[in-house]
Amino acid sequence: MLVHLQGAWNPWLGRLTLSQIPYHSPIVLGAFAFALLAAAPIVGLMTYYQKWGYLIREWITTLDHKKIGVMYIIIGLVMLLRGFIDGIMIRTQQLLADGPRSAAHLQAVHGYLPPFHFDQIYSSHGTIMIIFAVTVVLTGFQNIIVPLQIGARDMAFPYLNAVSLWLTAAGAALVMISLFIGDFSHAGWVGIVPLTELPYSPGVGVDYWDWALQLSSLGTTLGALNLITTIIMMRAPGMRWFRMPFFTWATLSTQTIGLTAFPVLGVALALLSCDRYLGTHFYTAGLGGNLMLYTDLFWIWGHPEVYFIILPAWGIMSEVIPTFSEKALFGYTVMVAATLSIAGLSWAVWLHHFFTMGAGPGVNLVFSVSTMLVGIPTGVKVFNWSLTLYRGRLRFETPMLWAIGALFLLLVGGLTGMMLAIPAINYTVHNSVFVVAHFHTMFLVSVFGIFAGLMYWFPKVFGFRLDERSGRRFFTFFSLGTVFVFAAMYTLGLMGMTRRLDYLYNPHWQALLIIQEFGIFLYCVSVFYFCKMIYVSIRDRAKEAHGQDVWRTSRTLEWMTLTPVPFYNFAVIPVVHGRDAWAMRRDSGLTATSPGDYEDINLPNNTIVPAMLGALAFGFGFGMVWRIWWLAGLSLLGIIGLVILRSFADDRGFTLTAATVRRMERNHEDTGIVTDHISPPVAELALFQ
């Protein structure tokens, strides 16, 4: 039943041999040294300050939506750095390998990367940036902010929330380990068929890509289910649909897309796995297979995924712009309608990713028109943000700078998107770096939105503001880097440069390639200022500490509770009387009121089970990649056994008494997420006592 593969295999280690560890590659060795250097101080400090117990007790086992959100964001930022390094390597290779006389370094004929290694780098760059960086960071924001915005104490399913996180972490770990054991896919982040089929990719690279995506997409689907249920079922009394903060609406639309689209990716990849492991022919050219079916299935998920990434960023912009314009969001109801219609339209545009495949003109016409229709609600949003800015008392603090930057990029990305929606233009620039520049511009809208959100909500979660001075420099260099890299890339695309080239044949592109590389240098400077911003902010955290309403003009419910947010979120569930609940209270002079009566609060116990499920999922994925059947089988059995075992646990959480809550609230005790002043019990500890 299983496909017989040529080459070494043994029952204990499967296809894994010492030769699969690329210690002969100086680049991989360098990456290994960099990873060691980055990890060593963290491990050293954790050991020196004896924080391993704290890490496990307070973070690894946590079910608190804020801590889970923070861990999502940390994973996402680490992956963002890895994806960024891949981006530097791609740009540098193209700069060095331009023209027949270009120099050769290391093991390459041109530039410094051999073609197979270059192909892996652009594949991992795309996979990481889209699936494991931007998606993950945005999921983190939604985890932290949505329950706070709707006045809930946690997500609807806190345990499932932790499972989603650890499945995503398992997928990210598979991508990272592929750097040092074996290799990664060379078939692009989209998995170009038939290149991903076994005869063309007999190694483990495609399998790493496949299982990493499978695991993380499962995590994302479960996360979507959780967020939708939370928004529907957990809203505070009085919070009707049209009183919900806009970011929550954006999340609801996003996660509806996630819940419906990610299973399609799961199916597309499962069929590919059947081809690679069982010898089926879903995507082969013969025996009833259809390789174009993969492209179709992939983009049925792929285009909704674009909106899965964009909509939360627009939600963040819709929170930041009113706060720093000191007025309500213009056209709230229309904005909600626009968001929902974009979510709906996202399901009807996917074929514009392969206009050139050869479908009839009628088909291309329908998808061209449906793609252009997206421009209407998007245009509505741009006008509404502009009209929110109009006659507002504008304050250009760092979150606002990022939000305005995102607005500008949306115009550039949106207009080039309209160009690409026209099949005739699409045929002309298909597979050129013009397309690459377009979708990078759109993803950068998300990235700018992410940094706006990071600057905006960081003080709410941690209790102190990020350093404004280095934050502004971070924004400046990042924006300049964006201009230099992508203005040059649009131009190169129109000059005919195709994508994914490890060697460029045209020396006349050199000047623009140098401009791109200069932009990359500016990005590197911005990373320095980002690190500096974090360092200075932590160092000066006492000076930058703030009360509940950090920005003084915030509008939504998350600003009502203490800063940093206590682990129980709200001492008493608030009653909502209108839209922008916090702004209403501020305008009515009700910000300093405290509840007369407190109540007992029931919260979930921490548990190690979700982290164990993540570890077993990683074991399963690693076993499948290397065909170590005992490891994959045992891991799968372990997952099933743990899930069943957990379902019998009579864990009803722990209760924080009203008296304790009153004491903590009135004494302003620090109950934020980085303190272990009061720790939720770990359910499994009872077993050992």
Binding site: I232, M292, D296, W347, L351, A359, G362
Partner: protein, 122 residues
């Protein structure tokens, strides 16, 4: 709107659950999908019969999950789940329909003998 319960075991979803039905639904859906996999691997059916067989098996697996595992109905606790499933139907029609139309126009342009591909074994 707001739904806060101290004891999760009192939730209507949990009260509605049945261990036997859950196991039966799980076994039925795994079994039906395993049969579909075997049918796919054996290559013994004609193209059209194969597509019909797999579609029927998929439909039965869906039914087993909806009825036995998730106990979908229109009661207060289950209403949202049932509506969620129904809301997927238009997407299902949209994606399958547009895919079918796309391939219908694609085959004559890209296949040497597209009728043989579409109708092989009829």
């Amino acid at each position: 709107m707001s739904l806060h319960r101290a004891d999760p075991l009192d939730h209507p979803d949990v009260r509605n659950a049945s261990g036997i039905a859950f196991v039966a639904g799980y076994a039925a859906s795994v079994g039906l999908m395993a049969i579909a996999l075997m049918v796919t691997l054996r290559h013994e059916m004609s193209y059209v019969r194969f597509v019909i067989a797999v579609a029927i098996l998929g439909g039965l697996a869906l039914l087993a999950q909806a009825v036995l595992m998730f106990r979908l109905d229109l009661s207060g606790g289950q209403r949202w789940k049932t509506i969620s499933l129904l809301l997927v139907v238009p997407l299902f029609v949209l994606s399958i329909g547009l895919t079918g139309w796309m391939f219908h126009t694609l085959y004559p342009r890209t296949m040497l003998d597209f009728m043989q591909v579409q109708g092989s074994g009829m």
